[in-house]
Symmetry: C3
Subunit: 278 residues, 3 copies
């Protein structure tokens, strides 16, 4: 299943419209190319809908949103919805400012996201603010330690994330030490990945873009497509780490992860993926 | 000739004003530094003309254009024209949206570009839209396969590109598997480069900036300067590929290309360049 | 002292709000993560003050300033001042345009910067323009050769920089072949670093962000914190250069410097730092 999802990305080369932050945008473009997709970045409202129309998927990442790019998010999102393209939301820093929280929630109210991918604090913020209280412990763009999904709270966290997915009619992909992927009915826990990935800026942004490519190339297996993207990012984080030299740091690691995504074989993916149905 | 063009870049350190997309901007800056030039990025209309005035060349790349940066393109372009600085246009994604196509054509109508460098689909779009029909097959920011310049259609493609250059009073540099460089009278085909370069975001943007540096440092040999930049980018793509390790992917390749540009000797350039007069 | 300053960054993980240019922003984020800090980029005026409030330091870098981001600089700067957070100004390209010079000076008039870090031409521009004449020889974003701090003019340059620090009630960190760090009373010269670092875009931007992290983590030893950041950046430039392969260029060097910052031990820092009280 994972093999087929990856094969479809490499065969179909999905073109993904990215409205994404300028911090990690280059890595987002290169990771899409590494996986077999193709990126186009466009955040001017004058062209957002038109660009989306020639693509097969859209990712909206609110990392460095501003008054000029927010209208482009709506224009692209509405056009993508009209064309039934898959749409991924990455609510970077929801909870860190009212602008981010409000923009994410407003987008969610108006655009039928296929996937919402964030860290647990961002998702808690969105869930609780929508419900009228703010329980997320977002610290800048990182999750709060106190929010972390662990073995101890795994089933509780999974139930919360499944409820979030049901409530927002989407697939929720919540990443951290343990990743949870749920469409509201089924719930997977993924244990691929390494803690050191959080010392590289943008691995989350990269995963959100990958997710859009995987779902665009696998429209009939959306949950599996998201699961595959999540496993692949984590697994490539592991494999890349193993081959780092003694003097490597986060900059080499960043390069190695994208390289690993470029080269990963289908069987290496299915053999290395660690996920379980909850 | 190629050796002298490169030597001039390294001796004169041309300062290049880049109004360029935020996706590949860091690589554009580093490739200019690698070649021996110097970059300055400035896209606020309030300073665009003034920045251009202290530089010796300008590159306008419409990759992530928006309502705020388009006026800066005009301001810088008009000042550069007034000062007779070389100006390069990279019409990234022309054909992918009306905003991009129209902006590129409007810029071409008002600014005397020294060089227009794009892929074949972008150039076909500009040529045909200017003539009232749209024949370009742009797919996002990549050329359509059906547009590709090959051995079979080489002379037809070269004639088209030379006509484009004559019509727009510029040097056209159209890159792909075979690159064509023409000032309307003379036409070169360049066969340096590797297909894998298209799996890295921004090699085209990098070449456009390099072209500006080469032409700024070689004002009396503009066609040769452009030819040298095109050969150098492709050759460095070849040399960098040869020394990649077994586990390398597009991220390492990106680093290796810029490194190779940094270190390329003049004789290695003239020895490795593969171009022919058509 | 240097060891303790670094240890505090790694133990406290200061979250730094960066309003910075889009050219080098990814390296700025990764260098903060490498050192032990954490970055958040936000340049929309609607959220700038709120983001600053959840951080422990702010860096304002005017590298690609525009009409939308300048108000965010004021909003963040004023909130940071109110909260007594350390604030670093990097006046990239001051002297290259009136917009940059004026914005830097206006910011300095309204915001109590803890540190101003720039090259000598930028600082001369700010000092002389504030005094009604323009003596800085800024060339794009690089210092003019004629402005360089050398062994011959070291004491004269140090006196000028100390006077600048006194006049603007800040710590001045002026980097070049010899770096000068002064709070107006005490003055250090730092000779770490390599000339090749200027062939990488953004090492200055990276240092400004590092400086914010070091001062945020060492509020009671601000001058030492800045000195430590300056020594560390230069030393890592030296150590990274030593382990570059024969075919490396500026792109590999960029990666190696961030890697070295990631891995640098406290004793390696104190052992390798080269600074002297003037």
């Amino acid at each position: 299943m994972l093999e087929e999802c990856l094969r479809n990305v490499r065969q179909k080369h999905p073109l993904i419209h990215c409205i994404t932050n300028y911090v990690t945008v280059n890595d987002v473009a290169n990771v899409l190319l590494a996986a077999g997709g193709s990126p186009i970045m466009a955040d001017a409202v004058e062209e957002a809908a038109e660009i989306t129309a020639v693509c097969s998927g859209l990712v909206i990442n609110i990392g460095t949103l501003n008054a000029a790019t927010i209208p482009a998010m709506y224009a692209a999102g509405k056009k993508a919805a009209e064309l039934r393209h898959p749409i991924v939301l990455d609510p970077v820093g929801a909870g860190a400012s009212a602008l981010r929280t409000k923009t994410a929630l407003d987008l969610m109210a108006q655009i039928p996201f296929s996937v919402i991918r964030g860290n647990i604090s961002e998702i808690k913020t969105l869930a609780s603010t929508a419900a009228g209280v703010n329980a997320g412990g977002t610290q800048g763009v990182d999750a709060a330690l106190s929010d972390a999904v662990t073995e101890d709270n795994l089933h509780e966290a999974a139930a919360f994330i499944a409820e979030f997915a049901r409530c927002h009619h989407c697939i929720a992909a919540v990443t951290g030490r343990i990743d949870i992927v749920s469409d509201g009915a089924v719930c997977y826990a993924v244990t691929n990945g390494r803690a050191e990935m959080s010392r590289i800026t943008g691995t989350g942004c990269q995963l959100s873009a990958l997710t859009a490519a995987f779902i665009a190339a696998n429209p009939d297996n959306q949950l599996e497509a998201v699961l595959t993207a999540v496993c692949m990012m984590g697994l490539c984080g592991e494999l890349a780490f193993e081959r780092l030299g003694a003097q490597a740091g986060n900059a080499s690691y960043r390069t190695a992860i994208i390289d690993t995504i470029y080269a990963l074989g289908e069987q290496a993916l299915s053999g290395g993926a660690r996920y379980a149905l909850l």
